[in-house]
Amino acid sequence: MNRGTWLLGRLAQIVPTFVMIGVAVFVLARLLPGDQVSAMLGERASDDTIARMQAQLGLDRSVFVQLLDFLAAAVRGNFGDSMSLRLPVLQVIAERLPVTLALMAIAVVLALSIALPLAFVAALNANRWPDMLIRTIFQIGLSSPVFYIGLLLLTVFAAGLRWFPVGGYGDDWGEHLYHLFLPGLTLSFSFAAVVMRNLRAGILAVLTAEYVDFARAKGLSAGVVLGRHVLRNALIATVTLVGLHVGALLGGAVITETVFAVPGVGRLMIDSILARDYPVIQALTLVLAILVSLAFLLTDLVQMWLDPRVGR
């Protein structure tokens, strides 16, 4: 099997995944107790008003008919209107997705810039004090709830030192980056901790490998040995971890976006679930599933580049 075929195979796997996710999310949304119209109208609406609204939104039809409608429309890229925001779902998602993607990108960049060097320091000083200190700090990062870290950073660096704004998103790209730094940092903590621990273990394992001894014996400089042989091989497992962690990052984004008042898809998801806004829940889950699938695909590709045995 050559790499092209392998890639096509991977892509082909994604399509049925999406169909299954589509059906699953439709069913799951409807398994949530409580219906959208009651959630929307609250306790004061009369039964007549509720029945009228259900008819208007097509919720009075059988679930099966609704499912077929949803799938047929989804294939055409039409996800309907948000019931609570009264705007086209795709427009709502398109406005918010870049915010969350930017937030996640900042979190990944920050996490890697923290984790990579520290993993090396920890591994090269294994079980000595720098290693202990780094692992202790990351243990705290890993075990602290995201909202707590967020509020702590807000209190110290935004409200206290006034280095950053207290939440919000700003109006242009400069402001966006400025506003997203603290939430990105918050989100990066637990991620950095996972990457650091994993990479440290990877480096330790690789350091004892025979090809590293061989590289050293060839007389290669320490930098080349670490960069070309140790890092590259230690990264293979870490890359998989980063890919798998995209889902967790999205979960963290839900809380981070709420604490920092960032208008991304994480908050949109929570709001939509609470409002039983079926069209948004469905479309957003599909979009996020596509995103995660693409992240996995990207992970495979990077792994293929790092480890030529993959895809052969």
């Binding site: 409580g34 009651s38 959630a39 609406a45 609570s84 604490v259 008042a261 208008p263 949109l268």
Partner: protein, 534 residues
């Protein structure tokens, strides 16, 4: 209004001045400063700024910045005053109401407001197929234009609530031509398009709305009301609502000076902010009541007997709750005990004393009389994650343990709770209520009158109370109506179908230099007389 909820003196003056446009000449205050952008932190964004089709307080409480009504509520929330109508008079034994429209009023796009706009807006609001609020003006039979400055409402029956209804958000006046010119094929589509950039005669107009992030309003240059300086209101050039769902973040932002004001300060943080020298904490009298409601049907949906069907049991449970204790724990002393099922700010409220003053001996005696001296188990559904509700329930749980009653707490999310509530599949639930209209009719309809929603879906139904309520909805003699509501409140409060816990104020915090904001007991936010000082 009670002394307990009074904002400080400046707040009170602002409240009187803001709504009634009373000049403060003679007070030490100079005329408010004009200009500037006010940034206000809200816990949630609006959803649909259509007076008729909206569903939520997030819309209702800010819509008066954009749309005016024919009449306005008074600052204390108990009466009405001139709005887009300057005069009103009943004839034909209360079945005809003639309103004289204010001359020279313009919409924020500069086009004149006409009697035709008023007729169209009211006809739209009373359409039984439109929205959830049309029954508030269900007594209107026809709206007739009688000349350029006059509109005549023909009523099916005399309606003592009609003036209050004409001061309520759903009767906001909209520009017919602009609405009809909005994009979309159906009226619902047009409403969506119009609601994205609404135009009204109110003090502000929409400039930009990024959902769940920010809403930017600018002063309506055509606004008709005058400020204390004799020039048109509002004082502010811009009003920006920032959406910050997290309470702690909103407060941090206010403390950092990134917000001028913030709504919904948690009661637990009020004292802290009162002690902040840069801030002013305002506690506005509200119509909010917090209570636990009972199912009173003899059988629950699962077929088991319901002890709460017994009046003595319900009264015993009420006597066994030390409301002062609950108020101290959950509201940190900021609430006050309820004297009737409706708030003390509701017109025709009648509450001689706090309901069911704590009396453990009486509670035990009543339970014994009812044959439940060994106690029983009762379950209460509540919205998961709501700390106030949880505090209330765990406190009541301990208090009821003293009479052998075991309270089981069932947390769930709000849609699930609403579904079971509507299906009358519960034994108890936590709840809170605020009025939408300055009249006791609405809350009575929901809480006490049997036919509409079985009295909070409890199954309570009292023929005498029902008859009194129906009579009160057509009684135009204020004294007789007052007597009817006195009796209604007595009957309902004695039936103990709820555990009345407390009334709480609206909590709004401001930077010290901001003055003139008003929140009326119904919850509506008034920014037209708000200004940012030095």
């Amino acid at each position: 209004m009670t002394a307990q909820f009074l904002p400080d003196r400046r707040g009170f003056l602002a409240m009187a001045g803001g709504l009634a446009a009373v000049t403060l000449a003679g007070t030490a205050n100079a005329a408010p400063k004009r200009g500037g952008k006010l940034i206000y932190g809200r816990y949630a964004d609006s959803q649909f700024l259509d007076p008729v089709l909206n569903d939520n307080n997030v819309d209702i409480w800010v819509m008066n910045s954009i749309y005016d009504t024919l009449l306005f509520p008074t600052a204390d929330g108990t009466g009405v005053q001139a709005g887009l109508a300057t005069k009103w008079a009943f004839t034909d034994a209360g079945k005809t109401l003639t309103l004289t429209l204010r001359a020279g009023v313009k919409f924020s796009d500069g086009s004149p407001m006409t009697a035709g706009d008023v007729k169209w807006s009211l006809d739209r609001a009373r359409d039984p197929k439109a929205g959830a609020w049309n029954d508030l003006i269900g007594s209107i039979d026809a709206v007739n234009v009688a000349g350029a400055d006059s509109v005549v409402l023909k009523l099916k029956t005399p309606d003592p609530t009609i003036l209050a209804a004409l001061a309520t958000f759903n009767t906001g006046i909209m520009p017919q031509k602009l609405f009809e010119a909005a994009a979309g094929a159906t009226p619902d589509d047009k409403a969506k398009a119009f609601g994205e950039k609404p135009v009204g005669t109110g003090p502000f107009m929409m400039v930009e709305w990024k959902r769940n992030q920010v809403m930017r309003l600018a002063r309506n240059p055509h606004y008709w009301r005058q400020g204390e300086d004799g020039k048109p209101l509002p004082y502010l050039d811009e009003l920006e609502f920032q959406i910050i769902p997290d309470d702690s973040t909103r407060i941090l932002k206010l403390k950092a000076g990134e917000l001028h004001g913030s709504e919904f300060i948690p009661l637990a943080r009020v004292k802290e902010l009162q002690g902040d020298k840069n801030l002013r904490m305002e506690l506005w009298p509200s119509t909010k009541v917090t209570y636990l409601s009972f199912m009173v049907k003899p059988k629950l949906t699962n077929g088991t007997d319901n002890p709460l069907a017994n009046l003595k049991v319900r009264q015993a449970l009420n006597y066994a709750v030390n409301k002062d204790g609950v108020i101290a724990i959950t509201t940190l002393g900021l609430g006050k005990p309820m004297r009737s099922f409706m708030s003390s700010t509701t017109p025709l409220f009648d509450g001689p004393a706090p309901l069911y003053k704590y009396d453990l001996a009486k509670a035990k005696a009543l339970l014994k009389e009812a044959g439940f001296e060994k106690g029983f188990e009762v379950s209460c559904m509540t919205v998961a994650g709501n700390q106030d509700n949880l505090n209330n329930l765990t406190t009541v749980q301990q208090m009821w343990a003293a009479i052998g009653v075991n309270l089981k707490i069932e947390p769930m999310d709000n849609p699930s709770l609403t579904k079971r509530y509507r299906a009358e599949d519960f034994q108890m639930r936590t709840a809170a209520w605020t009025n939408d209209i300055s009249d006791p009719g609405q809350i009575t309809n929901y809480f006490a009158y049997g036919p509409t929603i079985h009295a909070l879906h409890s199954g309570y139904n009292d023929d005498k109370l029902n008859a009194l309520y129906l009579a009160s909805q057509q009684e135009t003699d204020p004294a007789k109506r007052k007597a009817q509501f006195k009796e209604i409140q007595k009957i309902y409060n004695d039936a103990a179908t709820i555990v009345p816990l407390y009334e709480t104020p609206y909590t709004v915090a401001w930077r010290k230099n901001v003055t003139g904001f008003v929140q009326i007991p119904l919850g509506n936010n008034y920014f037209q007389a708000t200004s940012i000082g030095a």
